[in-house]
């Protein structure tokens, strides 16, 4: 069984936010509005944070793209009372909207701020993918054309692409990658099987020193960063 992971090269990342936009387009995540952003209610599956250290003129800014870390010891999976968020066998943490009761305990428990709550019924114009059927009877995790409010959602490592790719016999990590990896203009992201020593991610991890965010919490996340 593969264990999907991602490697993000911070040396290559230019902070263009293409991954954020690609994610919104691929997964039909609502645009959000300036008001919502002010109230911190907009939904992000992927974000890019800017971290500065030092004072002008000796200052350093680091740009850290942050998808869901898909931790092997995920705090959100531990705290979810309804098994709405769970770890698939291939290591992807997914959210089942049919089971989610909206208690928001996972948002409190997530150390990476990867989760967003649907605080309203989105209007049609707030979606990128209007081609997806606006049919509420399409249940299931993906594609979910329109959202219902009151559930929590998050990055899925584009598991629909991976599942489709496996079905079609394509090589995951080369031909089929998540949208953020595909769209990165600087080629800063790589996706693949962490168990397979020949995969691109394994080779990248062997080639340089790497870090994971908030290692002190012991979440064993599967998104690795190659520092500058």
């Amino acid at each position: 069984m593969p264990r999907w992971g991602m490697v993000i090269d911070l040396d290559k990342c230019v902070g263009c936010q293409a991954c954020t936009v690609a994610c919104k387009a691929e997964n039909n995540v609502p645009h959000g509005s300036p008001e919502e952003q002010k109230l911190r209610r907009d939904i992000y599956w992927n974000k890019v944070i800017a971290v500065t250290s030092g004072n002008y003129p000796k200052v350093n800014t680091e740009l850290i793209p942050m998808p869901c870390m898909h931790c092997d010891q995920a705090p959100c999976v531990t705290v979810c009372p309804a098994k709405a968020t769970y770890r698939r066998e291939d290591g992807i943490i997914v959210q089942d909207f049919r089971r989610c009761i909206g208690c928001k305990y996972c948002i409190v428990a997530c150390p990476y701020g990867a989760r967003s709550f649907n605080s309203k019924e989105q209007e049609e114009k707030e979606y990128h993918r209007k081609d997806l059927p606006p049919d509420r009877s399409v249940w299931g995790p993906w594609p979910f054309p329109t959202r219902t409010h009151g559930v929590v959602e998050k990055c899925t490592f584009c598991f629909h692409r991976i599942d489709q790719g496996i079905k079609e016999g394509k090589r995951i990590g080369k031909e089929v990658v998540p949208a953020c990896v595909e769209d990165c203009p600087a080629n800063a992201r790589a996706f693949g099987d962490l168990e397979d020593t020949g995969s691109e991610v394994s080779q990248l991890l062997a080639s340089r020193g790497w870090i994971r965010l908030r290692e002190e919490l012991g979440t064993k996340c599967k998104v690795y960063y190659l520092p500058r």
């Binding site: 800017a50 531990t78 309804a82 089971r99 409190v108 428990a109 709550f117």
Partner: protein
Amino acid sequence: MSLTFSALEGRSRIFLILTAALAVLSLTGLISFMVSYIRGHQVLGTSNIVPWGMPIVITIYLIGLSAGSLILSSLTYVFGKEEYRPISRIAVFLAIVLIFGAMAGIALDLGRPEKSWRLFMFFVLNNMRSMFAINGILYGGYFLIGVIYLGFIFGEKWKWTRVMGLIAIFWAALVHMGTGAIFGFIAARPIFYSPIKPFEFLAAALVSGLALLMIVVWILFRFTKRKWDQEILYALSKLLPPLIVVLFTMVLVDKLTHLYSPHREPTLWLLAGPFSWIFWGLQVGCAYILPFILLVHPRYKKTIQGVMTAACLVVIGIFGERFALVIPGTAYPLAFYPGSIEGIWGAVGSFPLRPMELLMSIGIFALMGLFFLLGLKYLALLPASEQSEQTSAPAEKG
């Protein structure tokens, strides 16, 4: 038993007006809940940064009051202290009403309340590693135990009452410690994360439950003009200062350990940031220091005004304690990466109190007040007075 209990007649004007007012407020709360359910949580003050708002604050507050009240009822039924018998039925009934309010509070906070049955599918559809699911067992069991306990008391089966009372003490302690564990086990939130949280919650439950019981009993007996010995109140008030000291010590140890790294920054922010007035003013001032001074003061501790003021301060202050835990605990930004995070991802969250949320909160209290009044009318909770009652019950919101 020479002591007989009776129900209120509940025909006086003030009783009817109160019942009607509480019913209207409950209905308003219900309507605002329906609005928040139909329009989504955008009508509330919560966000992705502060995901838990007033309903959760109120819920843990009510669970604390309930657990404290139920534990106190055991003074009579388990430890055989006869002097507290007149108020013990009230204590048990109050506990049941309060846990009902707490469960309503949880339901109001859920994004999808129609799926709340999933919380009670223990071991089948539930993830039993979740503190929330474990607490589902505790709350459900607590409600049942409370009802059975009250049933035995009404049936005057003293042996069974004693057994049930023993179970109730342990279960009530467990319930509130479990509630503390919901917060204490979250490693990602520095202000929550503490092994002492369950015990701190238990101490807070005893303090606030005792204070609320004193207020309720005083108001009830005063307004129904029952002849009673106010010594009960003074005796109960003597329990309060030591409990406050225990609670204060727990909080002190909790904050002190958090003042060392890695939790230093968020704790300093709590103690000196925008929410510090709630911590210092309500939690420390209102719940610990002022009542303690009042209750050890040689003059005030002997007056009913002094004792009642102390009890009211405690009940208000413990609410502040819950607020100062839930809201600042989540509002402080997460440290994703060393350094200062720019923009919204490093900004502190805010919690505006929206009208819908306020109405919902008032609705919870009003609903409990309504149930409490109806309980007084239909159940024999108060010691019978010599003459048949002419007046009736008071304003007591849960």
